[in-house]
Each structure stands twice: as C-alpha cells, then as structure tokens.
C-alpha cells in the first residue's frame, strides 16, 4: 500500500509532492535517493521534546532544521497576570536543572526598578546558591554526555554526586529542584546550622566526581575521536548567532558576564578563572563545562568561608509594588546568558516580562553546524551544545 493511497488533503498532497521533488533533485544531482529523517519529539537523545528534521544523503546530513515549541508553556503571557512572588515561582521552571539561577536575574531586575539592594549577606548567599545550581546543572550534563556517546556508566555517577548538591539546596531552601528562595530585597530564609560544613564536604566530593569523569570519559580515546574536530563553530559565526556561555567560550571568545557585567552579587569577592578554548569543536565545549564545574566548586569554597553576617532581607514593604519603569538584567547562567526585560506599571505584578533564554540562541546554530556531519555526529554536536527544552520553549 503506497503512501499516496491514503486519503490526503490537497495541501498535504502538494507538500508531499514538493518533498518528493526535493528528493528527486538530490536524486538527479547525486544519483542517490535522499532520506528525510525525523529525529522526533519523542527520542532518547534530545534533552526533551525537540524535533530535528534532517535530510540525509546516506549517512551525511544535507540539511537540518530544529523544530521547537513542543514544550511552550506561555511563560511571558503567564507573567502578565501574576504578582512578583508568583512569577518568581514560575520562573524556576524554565531551566529546571539549575533553577535557582533562573530566579536571580528576574529578582535583580525588579530590585533595579525598586532601587533597592539586597544586604551583603544575601548577595553572598545568592551567589553561592547560584554556583551550586550551576554545579547541579553541568554535572548532569557531564553524565548525560556519556549516555549520548554510548557510555552508560558516567550518568549514574553524575546522578549520585548531584544528589549531594540537591540535598544541600533542599536543606537551605526546602525544595530540591525548585527552590523559590529569592525575594525582592534578599532571600526568604537564612541558612540552617551545619550547612556550611556540609557544603565544604560536598564540594570535595564533586571535585572527585570531576576527576572521575575526566578519567572515565574525557581521557578515553574513543570519546576524543568522537568529539575532536566535530561541529567546529568559528568565533565570528558564534558571535553572529548569539551563542553564549560555554559554547561561546569554546570558540575562543573571552566573555563571561559574571566578570564583565557588574551586578550586586558576590562574584568579585572570589578569585576565579574564565576558561576558554581556541578550537570551537565539541570536545572544547564539553571540556570547558568540566572546567567550569571545577571552578564553581572553588568559588563556592571561597565564598562559603567569607559570608558576612547581617540581615538576610532589606527593608521592603510587605506588599511590594514595583515602581514604573523598565529594566534589563542578564546573568551568566549555567546554560549561557539568561536575561529578563521587566516592564512595570507600578502594580503588584509586572506588565510584561521578556525572557531571553540561552538555549534558544544556542539551538539556532543547529542548521549551520549540522550541515555535512554524519548521523551519529548529530547527537554529538547537539549534546555538546547543551540545551534544555524548557529553556528553548519557555
């Protein structure tokens, strides 16, 4: 039973004929038949419901296009009818792996509009939690990298060591994945007793985990041959497409918002390094994230020793009405640059929130970088670009 025997509408018939014609063109040029592969929304490889339509010639990709939107939850519309604390709760769920990091730019934008600054202790703890969420996010990436490549063991180590970080976040905030801890003017609560000692122990464990992953995965010759030289993104292409985070730094651009954009956070109180890599291939992106995780543990170690004492919350009214104005704040989130443009009309909730999420721009380079790669390399490249669907689709 051939495909045209089913009942199709006119439009579908035309679309089908068009795609056959496209294949036929390929046919004539190369005397082979192209195949359209749908790496569909339900797939073990994509980090969620991403659909990649790839046109293949044998095992090589001729044309690829990501089709996102399967997870669109309407954040920006929801934010129009919610108050500021409620939006903070919702915003946790955009990048659900490093969720504290999502709240921070939003709260900072609201604080900018209110012209209030959180006390030093709150800024310090905010930074510590931010870096903890970075560690939680990227350690899962490192494990997941193994699975995409076929090594099934690193992901269990990743989950095992990530548990420690999640327990830490739960101890302080009450929620493992969605802390909902940042408030306009400071933080909700102070740290419970024993948290600082526990954090130091966990940071040591995470450094061991990074070493383990380096031995198990990065040092492996098979992994290296699968990622070196694959998916090279040159510096100017990366800048044009708006890549950010580790993807940009792997192409040799020395760009880190924590260092370059001063914000009322405590990054300048610790001594840390920005990692870049000149190659721009998949290995560079993965390697940079490994180094960033290590660096984050060092930042936490330094900050945890020097938390200033004092109040955790600034003097803000109980019912917060943010004055009129517009503010844009972006931070170096685990996935890249995440920013919020908050428009306020002086009410209980924002008038409009525009969310600039890192993964949306990171995935936009997929058509460019996937041309000419082999089918297994599609997975390698997408894995190394590292996106989270909630971040792409919001």
């Amino acid at each position: 039973m051939s495909i045209t025997d089913r009942v199709l509408g006119d439009r579908q018939r035309l679309a089908y004929i068009a795609s056959q014609a496209a294949d036929a063109r390929l046919n004539v040029e190369l005397e082979t038949e192209g195949m359209t592969l749908n790496i569909g929304p339900q797939h073990p490889a994509t980090h969620g419901t991403l659909r990649i339509i790839a046109r293949l010639d044998g095992e090589q990709v001729v044309w690829a296009e990501p089709s996102c939107g399967y997870m669109h939850r309407g954040y920006e519309k929801l934010a129009e009818v919610r108050t500021y604390p409620q939006v903070t709760t919702l915003v946790n769920r955009i990048d659900w792996l490093g969720s504290f990091a999502n709240e921070v730019p939003f709260i900072l934008a609201a604080e900018k509009l209110m012209d209030v600054e959180a006390p030093a202790r709150a800024q310090h703890i905010r930074t510590i939690l931010f870096e903890l969420s970075r560690i939680a996010n990227v350690s899962l990436f490192l494990g997941d990298l193994g699975v995409q490549m076929g090594a099934i063991t690193p992901v269990f180590f990743a989950f095992r060591d990530r548990e420690y970080v999640l327990n830490l976040i739960e101890g302080a905030t009450g929620g493992r994945f969605h802390p909902n801890f940042d408030r306009i003017g400071g933080l909700k609560d102070d740290l419970p007793k024993g948290w600082i000692a526990e954090t130091k122990a966990v940071m040591k464990k995470l450094r061991t985990f990074c070493d383990q992953i380096e031995d198990l995965l990065f040092g492996n010759e098979i992994f290296q041959s699968r990622t070196r030289g694959i998916g090279v993104i040159p510096r100017d292409v990366a800048l044009q497409y708006g890549l950010s985070g580790a993807n940009l730094r792997a192409s040799g651009v020395d760009w880190d918002l924590r260092r370059d954009h001063p914000l009322p956070m405590a990054w300048n109180k610790a001594d840390w390094k920005v990692w870049t890599h000149p190659d721009g291939d998949s290995f560079a992106r993965c390697w940079i994230r490994l180094q960033e995780t290590r660096e984050a543990t060092k930042i936490v170690d330094q900050l945890i020793d020097t938390i200033p004492s004092g109040p955790i919350m600034a003097k803000v009214p109980k019912i917060i009405k943010v004055p009129e104005g517009e503010a844009w704040v972006s931070t170096e989130n685990p996935l890249g640059e995440m920013g919020y443009y908050v428009v306020s009309r002086g009410e209980l909730g924002p008038f409009r929130v525009k969310i600039r999420s890192a993964s949306f721009n990171n995935i936009s380079i997929a058509p460019w970088v996937l041309r000419g790669v082999y089918v297994p390399d599609i997975v390698t490249v997408l894995a190394s670009l590292y996106f989270i669907l909630g971040d792409i689709d919001r």
């Binding site: 327990n167 969605h178 383990q212």
Partner: protein
C-alpha cells in the same frame, strides 16, 4: 584505559561499602527539616483573611467562611464579629509547592512539613480538607537553628 579502572574501582566499592542507593520501600531517607513536603493548617490561628488563597499562583486553596457574632469580651460590651472557617481545602494536584501561602499568612496558620508519602490512586483524593490538613500539623518540625552570623529571627 583509566576508565576501566574507574568502573572496576566502583565495582569493588559497591561490593565492599554498599551502594549509594536507598532501597526505597524498605529503607527511607529522612528529608531535611525545611523540605517542602505538605502544608499543614493550624485552624485556631486562621481568620479566613484569604491572603493565601489570593497569593497562590495556581489558585489551589479553597476557603469559605462566614461571619458570626461572638459574645463580648467584657460584660456590657458589644458582640464582636468573628470569622468562622467553614472550608479550607488545598488541592495538592494543583499545588506547586512554592510556599507563597505559608510565607504570606500573617497569623502563622500554615506550616511546612517534610511528609511526602501521601500519593493517592485517585486524583480527587488529593484534595485535602480542613481535618486532614490539621492532621499534618503533627508532622511539622521545629524551625532549624540558623548558621552563625544570621540575624535573630524577628517574629
């Protein structure tokens, strides 16, 4: 080659020291004190001011109350108007566990409890009514002590 060493090492570690996992139904890990498991209601404190119901992002709290005349406090005074709580339900099928209601309550009527094992086979059973919410009060822990350097809690 070192990768093989890592996996072999983990193998020995698990055999000798035990696995990292917790065999769930037989052993249970205790969540931290602040863990957001379920919300408990202290009925006596609630004045049905509706602040929690209004601030919930999902609107999962259903409150119904009526005004009653209570006897005057002193002899010869006017009868006072009090709010009596008829219905206070939290629909845990909708609840996002954000904690805004607990935070916003001016009378300390809502508390977090780390209990998490209350799943039901039917979704309708996830609507906890006033009496069930009152039962959860027994599981509410004391607030943990704070780290050095924190300000004293002003309540």
């Amino acid at each position: 080659m070192k990768g093989l060493g890592v996996t072999l090492g983990t193998l020995f570690e698990t055999v000798t020291k035990g696995a990292n996992t917790v065999q769930y139904p037989h052993e249970k890990e205790a969540p931290p004190t602040r863990a957001r498991g379920v919300i408990a209601l202290h009925e006596g404190n609630c004045t049905s001011c509706m602040l929690c119901a209004r601030s919930c992002p999902d609107w999962c709290i259903y409150i119904e109350g009526h005004k009653e005349l209570a006897p005057p406090r002193r002899e010869g005074g006017k009868p006072r108007q009090v709010n009596k709580l008829d219905r206070f339900d939290i629909d845990y099928a909708l609840c996002m566990y954000c904690g805004i209601c607990v935070e916003v309550c001016p009378f300390d009527a809502l508390f977090w409890s780390p209990e998490y094992e209350y799943s039901e086979p039917r979704i309708a059973d996830l609507l906890h009514d006033m009496s069930k919410l009152g039962e959860w009060m027994e599981t509410v822990p004391e607030a943990p002590e704070l780290e050095a350097g924190a300000d004293k809690k002003k309540k």
